[in-house]
Assembly symmetry: C2
Homo-oligomer: 181 residues x 2
């Protein structure tokens, strides 16, 4: 488990990713931009139209048997074939944050099958979760996905299944940023 990694997602006129579309799934959206820059370090100056920051932290819900299953098939970011990406910033409601660890875990996996759903799309869809709530950011989590163009329909299917879970009833803001390079 490496040290936490700070990542800034900067929407504006520059960056390695072209923004294909930005949709407000629930609550307020984000201002339209042409490009997205992903910078993996602290102290990145907030250039561009908006900057969202997060940190890859330790896993909060994954148990040993699940980590083993995930590790066996998941792929790193940055594959040459991964010409498509998505950034999904979400916030969860006060009701979610008022739950205790056992209650959140029960919704997360035993009921929502969040981890099991993600497993169905490996290795095609690579994923990295960033925590933002404790940084005082407007969103609680930023999830970054990378996949080949031919996996785009699979990715839409993954999003649809996650949004249908009980866990998603606690999401009170969600934006979908679709990207290509």
């Amino acid at each position: 488990m490496p040290r936490p990694l700070f990542v800034s997602f900067q929407g504006g006129g520059a960056g390695q990713w072209h923004v294909d579309r930005i949709g407000a799934v629930r609550g307020d959206g984000l201002a339209p931009v042409d490009r997205l820059r992903v910078a993996e370090s602290t102290g990145v100056p907030p250039v561009g139209v908006w900057t969202l920051r997060g940190v890859t932290s330790n896993e909060r819900y994954v148990e040993r048997r699940e980590r083993s299953a995930l590790s066996a098939v998941q792929q790193p970011l940055g594959r040459d074939s991964a010409r498509c990406a998505a950034l999904i910033p979400i916030s969860k409601s006060d009701e979610w944050w008022d739950l205790t660890q056992d209650e959140r875990r029960a919704i997360f996996e035993d009921q929502a099958h969040h981890i099991a759903i993600g497993l169905d799309y490996l290795p095609a869809i690579a994923r990295r979760l960033h925590h933002s709530r404790d940084l005082g950011e407007p969103f609680d989590f930023l999830t970054w996905f990378e996949f080949a163009p031919e996996a785009s329909a699979q990715f839409d299917d993954l999003l649809g299944r996650l949004r249908a879970t009980e866990e998603w009833a606690y999401v009170d803001r969600e934006v979908e940023v679709r990207l290509s390079r």
Copy 2:
């Protein structure tokens, strides 16, 4: 569950708390200072000799039955009678951070009885945990304790019991800062 609260602990020549002593329990200590300032907000300029920052986050291990037990007896910070305080910065080893949530929880409570030990000293000793690891800080956690002078022996007893747990085998740096006002 309130929003995360940023707190800066600034060791130097100013602040509401007098530093009685600073001890390095494991690993490197902290530079000696006369006073400690506790500032509850973001963007506090790093004055003084050292500044440690943390954020009160959501609970990571406490389950519903435990939160109920804690809530029934725990007291807020800032009681008039609480003329003594302690700041205990700790870091845990890579081995700890490489464990999964279920494994950490098992050590935290089922084996170490961390929560149960804390309950034994309520309401005399008030406590607030601050998370620092995801802020890129030198310590992983900063725990702040407040108590009346007559509870000092109880506090020493609490520290001794926590340090004897299996969980503490994963602590690779610990400093004890004892304070009064």
